[in-house]
């Protein structure tokens, strides 16, 4: 085997792998990209019934109703609000007035059926999409939240 021949083999194998990977990625992208919408987005556009997507915003105060393992609550971005139904145990940090991301589909009745409600590991964490969506619908959302960490003022801490 000559050096040149070996190089051809290598390039051939590399290209084959690249094409295989590109094919895999493209097909997987086609089926598995999950879009993120806020309640305001949902008012503007219609999402097909079987299209899986993520809904993000704040859990609206006073809307959480549990009956058995079924939970109903509204997700709001302070401009619009979407009812959500979920069956299962909510993540530990699910609370009224806190950021939430739910993944699932929307029914013809406008109720979002969540298959998954995402847990965050930190109570002060805000998913960037939720923060963006809130900022878009209401630039003053941070003040409405009126929530700072107790004890230490975060603004002072990060100087």
């Amino acid at each position: 085997m000559t050096r040149k021949k070996r190089r051809m083999y290598l390039i051939g194998a590399g290209m084959a792998m690249l094409f295989a990977a590109a094919g895999l990625v493209l097909t997987a992208f086609q089926d598995n990209l999950v879009f993120f919408y806020s309640p305001s987005d949902l008012q503007e556009k219609t999402v097909e019934a079987d299209q899986r997507f993520r809904l993000g915003g704040m859990v609206e105060e006073g809307t959480v109703k549990k009956s058995g393992e079924m939970v109903r609550f509204n997700v709001t971005d302070y401009a619009a609000s979407t009812p959500v139904v979920f069956s299962g145990i909510l993540p530990d940090l699910f609370r009224e007035g806190q950021g939430v991301v739910a993944e699932g589909t929307i029914g013809a009745d406008g109720v979002f059926v969540a298959q998954e409600v995402l847990a965050k590991h930190d109570e002060n964490y805000m998913p960037p999409e939720v923060a963006d969506a809130l900022a878009e619908s209401d630039p003053d959302w941070k003040k409405k939240l009126g929530r700072t960490a107790e004890g230490v003022d975060p603004a002072q801490a990060t100087n």
């Binding site: 085997m1 895999l24 598995n32 009956s67 058995g68 930190d122 998913p127 004890g151």
Partner: protein, 667 residues
């Protein structure tokens, strides 16, 4: 006072890093032995200074000095001592300090254990380490100083995120960083070799143990994180393809490829420039991981308090180090002469196949992880790339890899005999077919079960093929048993390590297959005395009561588990409400029989009536994931004890052989 001492030590360490990153480099260029030798005391000084700083922060945590902001935000007097200490790295600033501490520990290890290295290579390697350390010291001093004071000091601290108050997570970050940061060694060696313009078998033999050490720790770190997520988060899963998980997985994949390609450089003097590139990219992916985790650019279930300026700084660090290294690579790589030729079907060929598949897998994970960022930047909408994408792309790439793992070690160097290897693997192929058939029939023989059965077949193929390879090595049944025993004892540790790691992979394939295909889940409201059946096990809810812990109060549920009337286990999950910071956590109760886990979670009380929401999982073969990771890490450690890594390394100068023999072998 102690905190100021720590801060001052960091500043001094930065000064030393400036010396370390310049003087030895110039010395190596001029052939000045005195300047080159400065690398050693400089790295020792840096180690002592950063160690002092880390000690100072740890001390502030241990004595709960809340006048330090970092301590006030992340600690609390009520916390058990273990979590006071692990709280040091349970936050951005402290974990960055741990990062640097580990970095300088690796540097000082080279200074001590790298005595058989040629002085110029050692000086250059330590200089590159010094540059990386300097960059990170600047980062911590400018944006993330853990020693800032708070006046007036609060009476008590905010406490540590209760999810982090767990033994599994106490040791997860140090392990992970030992891995991440350890790849800096491969990077520094690669850059030093590029400056020198010389990559040979000796270089590969020096760089391999460091890469192996880093890889072993990273394996342990990822496994610990996965295990923690499994038992602590109460969701019954162990991998979510979350960006932060991918951030640690990408360097692991690239590092695995690097380990294998370095073998080819060492044994056959081929694939040199590819190996150098892999070494650079592996550490680049470690830096990328650090960036993804700390910049908050990507939505993740793992939240580090994020800050755009920090993100910018890491991006800058990444750009300078990667850009510089790649530029050097572009200039110097064409001069690296390829060595031995080999046929596509050969040991080198199979290792190359491993590299191609691993690199492709890394690239697809990278694409999936970063795609949401690109999509957002290009206004394609906000998207998430979740587990279905990664499963669809990653699994098909792993199938040929596992198949090749079976016969690769059977092929000889240069020109292998594939037909011969396959005929020696008849037993493995037969066992794999049998496992496939058995798994398929037992699962019911439906078309849906084919994939899972195929997964089991693959696992058995790899398991038997690896054992056959070991048996051939020791001539089991072909020579007298005593002879086989002698051969086994004399087996090179590196070969034995490979066998263990490949066996570990077989366990992981089996575990992943079973856990994805046959996991069962049941969510319901249960009242005391009620029984439900999951996977043939009867779970009887015996009620729940309130219990008080040291810094939390909890609802504790009780489940009695029976199978066919025989008692199997008692499961007592808790739902805890921590007091500082106020935050609930789920403590799942898990019973394992070594093959499968029974997993129970108690949730909130039912609001409409009596009872509690409960969640029961049947998790088949999940323990195999932990066995498999453990075997892989064990393989890494066993391979590290190979004496070839320590003594008798091929030396570039003939005279060095004599001094190496005279020196006592260091452990």
């Amino acid at each position: 006072m102690i905190a100021e001492l720590g801060h001052y030590a960091l500043v001094l360490a930065f000064m030393v890093s400036l010396v370390q990153s310049s003087v030895p480099l110039i010395g190596a260029q001029r052939g000045d032995a005195v300047m080159m030798d400065l690398a050693r005391p400089a790295s020792i000084a840096m180690f002592l200074l950063v160690g002092t700083s880390f000690g100072a922060l740890t001390y502030s945590y241990v004595v709960s000095d809340f006048s330090v902001i970092n301590v006030a935000q992340n600690s609390h007097t009520d916390k058990p001592m273990l979590y006071k200490i692990s709280g040091v790295w349970g936050n951005h600033e402290g974990s960055l300090l741990l990062w640097i501490t580990i970095l300088v520990t690796y540097s000082v290890a080279v200074a001590f254990f790298g005595r058989n290295l040629p002085p110029a290579l050692r000086a250059r390697t330590l200089a590159v380490q010094g540059m990386i350390t300097g960059g990170f010291l600047l980062f911590i001093l400018l944006t993330s100083n853990p020693f800032l004071r708070l006046d007036p000091a609060p009476i008590d601290g905010n406490g540590l995120n209760p999810l982090l108050q767990d033994p599994g997570l106490a040791f997860h970050p140090p392990m992970l960083y030992l891995g991440y940061v350890g790849f800096s060694m491969a990077f520094s060696f690669a850059v030093a070799a590029l400056i020198e313009g010389k990559v040979d078998a000796a270089w590969a033999r020096w760089v391999r143990p460091w890469t192996l050490l880093a890889w072993t720790f990273l394996t342990l770190g990822i496994a610990l994180g996965s295990w923690w997520a499994y038992y602590e988060l109460g969701w019954g899963g162990w991998w979510y393809w979350d960006p932060v998980e991918n951030a640690s997985f990408m360097p692991w994949l690239a590092g695995t490829a690097l380990l294998h390609s370095a073998v080819v450089v060492e044994k056959r003097d081929a694939l040199k420039s590819w190996t150098i590139l892999l070494a650079i990219l592996t550490f680049g992916l470690s830096l990328l991981g650090t960036f993804l985790v700390r910049s908050g650019i990507i939505t993740s279930v793992h939240a580090f308090a994020s800050d755009p300026t920090r993100g910018m700084f890491i991006l800058l660090l990444m750009g300078v180090s990667l850009g510089g290294a790649l530029l050097l690579y572009a200039l110097r790589a064409p001069d690296l002469k390829g060595g031995g030729l080999f046929a596509p079907i050969s040991r080198e060929g199979s290792l190359l196949l491993n590299n191609l598949l691993m690199a492709t897998a890394t690239a697809t994970v990278l694409l999936g992880t970063l795609y949401p960022v690109f999509a957002d930047a290009l206004n394609l909408g906000k998207v998430t790339v979740g587990p279905p994408f990664f499963n669809a792309v990653f699994v098909p790439l792993m199938i040929p890899l596992v198949i090749a793992m079976g016969f690769g070690p059977m092929l000889s160097w240069k020109r292998g005999d594939l037909a011969g290897a396959l005929s020696r693997l008849k037993a493995a192929a037969g066992a794999a077919l049998l496992a496939f058939g058995l798994a398929w029939v037992l699962a019911g023989g439906a078309l849906d079960d084919v994939l899972a059965a195929f997964g089991f077949g693959l696992a058995v193929w790899l398991l038997v093929a690896t054992l056959v390879e070991l048996a051939e090595r020791v001539k089991l049944f072909k020579a007298p048993l005593a002879e086989s025993g002698r051969r086994f004892a004399r087996l090179p540790r590196a070969a034995f390590g490979m066998t263990l790691a490949h066996l570990g992979m077989a366990f992981i394939v089996a575990g992943v297959t079973a856990a994805s295909a046959y996991k069962q889940e049941s969510v319901q409201v249960m009242v005391a005395g009620q029984t439900i059946t999951v996977a043939g096990y009867e779970f009887t809810f015996q009620g729940a009561e309130r219990v008080e812990g040291p810094n939390y109060s909890a609802v504790k549920g009780h489940f009695g588990v029976t199978k066919d009337g025989e008692p199997i286990a008692q499961l007592d999950p808790e739902k805890r409400e921590y007091t500082s910071p106020p935050m609930p956590t789920t403590e799942a109760a898990i019973h394992t029989n070594g093959w499968a886990d029974l997993y129970a979670v108690v949730g909130d009380p039912n609001e409409d009536g009596p009872g509690f929401v409960t969640r029961i999982y049947f998790e088949p073969l999940v323990p195999f994931l932990w066995y498999g990771s453990g075997l892989m890490a064990l393989g890494g450690f066993v391979s590290l004890t190979d004496r070839r890594h320590r003594v008798g390394a091929p030396t570039r100068r003939k005279v060095a052989a004599a001094t190496a023999g005279a020196k006592p072998a260091s452990a």
